[in-house]
């Protein structure tokens, strides 16, 4: 327990340091941009399920690029296990990119599924969903895709799902992450020999 507490505080410090040294933009600008973009996606796909899927896919495309930036700037080394990765996402990555700290909880007995919980969501600031979308649209679903994409690049395959969203009247925001498998490191094909 004490070693996990000290690791937690190390990660908190890494998150704070990465956030402190980054250049910042107003969260309002990001919220405004994200909201306008979601509206365009809704125009294209209409069906909330399709919109959710598209948001997740776009997030995945961010995640697979963002991981390199994250590992280079955060100093976390490598994410070796699923359990450790979940902590790093909430304590370092959320802080570094969004300026907020999330917490990991609700581990299942097998330790292959947990929740990332966060009270503030900078993407959803000032947002009110129209009634026809308020139950079906997962407004911030891009975050699920970012997590899935980033972890895939460190060989960790997961599924993510928004299970609580303050925009839908829930008391908090909660992303459920389910661990699927660790990909075996591929031996790179060397075509120069």
């Amino acid at each position: 327990m004490s070693s996990s507490t000290s690791r937690s505080s190390t990660w908190n410090k890494l998150g704070d340091a990465a956030y402190a040294k980054s250049e910042k933009v107003s969260a309002d600008l990001v919220a405004l941009t994200y909201g306008s973009f979601v509206r365009e996606i809704i125009k294209d796909y209409e069906e909330p399920d399709q919109v959710n899927k598209e948001l997740e896919k776009l997030g995945y495309n961010i995640g697979i690029r963002l991981i390199e930036d994250f590992l280079a700037k955060s100093g976390v080394g490598n994410c070796s296990s699923f359990e450790e990765s979940a902590e790093i996402i909430s304590r370092v990555a959320f802080k570094m990119f969004l300026g907020i700290r999330a917490t990991v909880s609700n581990w299942n007995n097998e330790y292959n599924s947990c929740s990332i919980i966060f009270e503030e969501n900078p993407l959803a600031e000032y947002v009110e969903l129209p009634p026809e979308y308020s139950n079906a649209l997962l407004y911030s679903n891009m975050l699920c895709g970012v997590i899935r994409g980033a972890l895939e690049m460190v060989q960790i395959i997961v599924e993510c799902e928004f299970v609580k969203d303050q925009l839908r009247g829930d008391d908090t925001n909660e992303i459920r992450i389910r661990f699927k498998e660790i990909l075996q490191e591929q031996v790179p094909w060397n075509d120069e020999e």
Binding site: K24, S26, L29, V30, S36, E40, D44, L58
Partner: protein
């Protein structure tokens, strides 16, 4: 300590990644082009227009927020200066380095390090052309000027990215006598 609403800050990378994926969505996504049964060149034009108009919409609303406590800007030059300082700092993390005008409605703004292109120009595997990544910020700048009551054409030369030169041409009927 709780932060005031509106004061919260996020890393600029977050904004850059978001804009990068917006550009991808409009310009490089196959599904969107397959949806429209238009000719290829029309599709491209339509996609660029949508991306630009999203930028304009965001620029307009963003400027309204930034300028809400600013006293009325009466002259064209004051408005352009507001864009060069307040708008540029809030959107691109620095002021414009140099502003020139011919006093006939043309303004040339030089930014030695245009922050929104740093990420793109450093990433060799970025999808698409660097010009693609100018459409959205140009739209934002245009929208911001519109919000100040200026109807302009805005173009950008980023051939020496991340150094960029922006030219604002006030449309004829708008020019101050």
């Amino acid at each position: 300590m709780a932060q005031e609403k509106g004061d919260a800050l996020v890393a600029e990378e977050t904004f850059d990644f978001l804009v990068m994926i917006i550009v991808d969505y409009f310009l490089h996504s196959k599904e969107i082009s397959n949806k429209a049964s238009l000719k290829e060149d029309l599709v491209t034009k339509r996609k660029l227009e949508r991306l630009e108009s999203l930028g304009r919409d965001i620029g307009r609303r963003w400027l309204e927020k930034l300028a809400q406590d600013t006293p009325h800007l009466s002259t064209e030059l004051d408005k352009v200066k507001f864009i060069c300082k307040e708008f540029w700092t809030a959107t691109f993390q620095k002021q414009i380095d140099n502003l020139k005008t011919n006093n006939k409605g043309t303004y040339v703004l030089s930014d030695k390090i245009f922050k929104r292109l740093v990420h793109v120009s450093e990433t060799p595997d970025s999808v698409g052309q660097i010009e693609d990544y100018m459409v959205f910020p140009l739209g934002m700048i245009k929208g911001a000027l519109e919000s100040l009551g200026m109807n302009c054409d805005v173009s950008g030369d980023c051939s020496n990215a991340p150094s960029c030169v922006f030219t604002i041409n006030v449309k004829e009927e708008q020019k101050e006598k």
